[in-house]
């Protein structure tokens, strides 16, 4: 039998099985993934480039882009900082309840965005735990910009932490110990020893975190008042335009986010080649 060829992944399935399965995969991927992606750009440019440009230069569209960037610019650095601290704390030391802590960090992945929004309303809404206190300081969170930012932060909490923890776990602490024993401070050790070792994983986490931050819809829509030009993020503005039967404008804005997600996918596979992540079950929720 010619089955024991050197390349271990070379399949020994009969040719017709191969053709069938490849065909099935290509058909499914085309129908499920490529078609929706293509439709966005088709619908965006169908009414001509002028309509497209007009949709993007609309004032409410501009302010939606600005709010989306603001929410992303706050949540990504904060959650990156958190991810670094959490990864350091959970991989460099052993303490009781560590695996419970790691599980809790992952929880926002498991919580439906709409339920996340509901939780924030229960905390920061007018009748919520902190609502009246914040109100007395003149700070409105829910149905206002802080709520949008908070919701974005909530859904993106685990992204950086969960990429760093397995990588730092695997790398161990020997290099850090060497640096410390040579007299380096904790901060120097982190910047000069740890950071270079985890840079690709960190970038990977930041990439996924940003993509999610810019695209979050469910959680943000619950806590936002959906006021155009004020508390609408890009996805919310798309929703509003679509419901106004202004599909060309909705698809024009969608094409920006779709382009970003294509870039995300390209950057993702580029980074994956550098981290050799594949064997790690990163898509796991808990």
């Amino acid at each position: 039998m010619s089955s024991t060829e050197g390349f271990s992944h070379e399949s020994r399935d009969p040719k017709w099985v191969q053709f069938l399965l490849i065909g099935l995969t290509l058909g499914f991927v085309f129908l499920l993934l490529i078609l929706p992606l293509g439709v966005i750009f088709w619908e965006a440019f169908r009414k001509g480039i002028k309509t497209y440009a007009l949709a993007l230069s609309d004032r409410n569209a501009q302010s939606a882009i600005a709010l989306t960037l603001l929410a992303t610019a706050i949540s990504v650095p904060v959650n990156m900082f958190f991810g670094l601290a959490a990864a350091w704390a959970t991989t460099k030391y052993s303490f009781r309840g560590k695996s419970l802590l790691i599980s809790i960090i992952d929880l926002p992945f498991a919580i439906s965005p709409v339920i996340a929004g509901l939780m924030l309303i229960l905390l920061y809404g007018i009748h919520g735990w902190f609502g009246s206190t914040l109100q007395s300081f003149g700070l409105q969170v829910i149905f206002a910009v802080p709520g949008v930012v908070l919701a974005t932060m909530f859904v993106t909490v685990p992204f950086v932490a969960r990429e760093l923890i397995p990588v730092m776990q695997e790398q161990g602490s020997e290099q850090e110990w060497a640096a410390v024993s040579l007299g380096a401070s904790g901060w120097q050790t982190f910047v000069k020893v740890t950071l270079p070792n985890i840079r690709w994983a960190l970038l990977y986490g930041v990439l996924l975190c940003s993509a999610r931050a810019m695209g979050e819809f469910g959680a943000v829509s619950v806590v936002s008042s959906n006021i155009r030009g004020l508390t609408n993020t890009l996805p919310l503005q798309i929703d509003a335009l679509y419901n106004d039967y202004n599909a060309p404008a909705a698809f024009a804005l969608s094409s920006i986010l779709a382009s970003l997600s294509i870039l995300t996918l390209i950057a993702k596979s580029w980074l994956e080649a550098r981290i050799d992540y594949r064997s790690k079950d990163k898509e796991e929720l808990l």
Partner: protein, 279 residues
Amino acid sequence: MSVTGTMQARRLPGFGLTLGFTLFYVTLMIALPIAALLLKASAVSTTELIETLKSPRVQASLRLTFGASVLAALINTFFGFVAAWTLVRYRFIGRRMIDSLIDLPFAMPTAVSGIALMAIYAPTGLIGQHLIPWGIKTAISPLGVLIALVFIGFPFAVRTIQPAIEELDIEAEQASASLGASRLQTFTRVTLPSLLPAALTGFTLALARALGEYGSVIFIAGNLPMRTEIASLLIVSRLDENDVVGACAIAVVMLTATFGLLLGIQAIQWFIQRKTGRN
């Protein structure tokens, strides 16, 4: 642990700072919101909670959400298996691109996916218009909900099964073949059983994701009460009606279901680790 005994006694700098900040942030951002929901739900009397859940509209939405999610997860497990097998075992033009593209539902904002699916499956849409004459309604129908949930869950199935196929023991397959087993026998008796845990995990992850999905579903679903209204949407409608208690009741049911599924995954992982002695 690579740290020797004497070093274990000491600690790398930064323990108090990093753990302190981590605990503070986790408490503020994750624990507190969850506690708020659980406390709100527990403050409501059980009878009121059950009354809310027994209303026909809630029942219908829970049935739709769970039914469509399970069906979507099954479809995803099947096609996820086929796609993962194809991507790992076969070489064909465009393989790398397809591989990267699998994560699209992950990377694309759900609202964008939602209107894209609508443009395809609406009665006037690319595919929808050709199905209407056949009496098949792909949008504003439970079928639309199913399509959106298949879309959103697909990467979870592929990305869980793919590494398992990569790590398959080729020698076991070869041994089986050299002992005279046919390709099909080898597949069903040797290959498939060792992939079962991964397939089960993939199914569960796709299911958990589908249960909580909102953005990609609401456009194509059409949101008709009693017919195409998913649980997430009903939570939003209850909030719009200022019925916070009603929203919390549904949320607690959904949250319990998701957490239960994820605990199930932990059990599967634990079982695999014990069986293979790896971690």
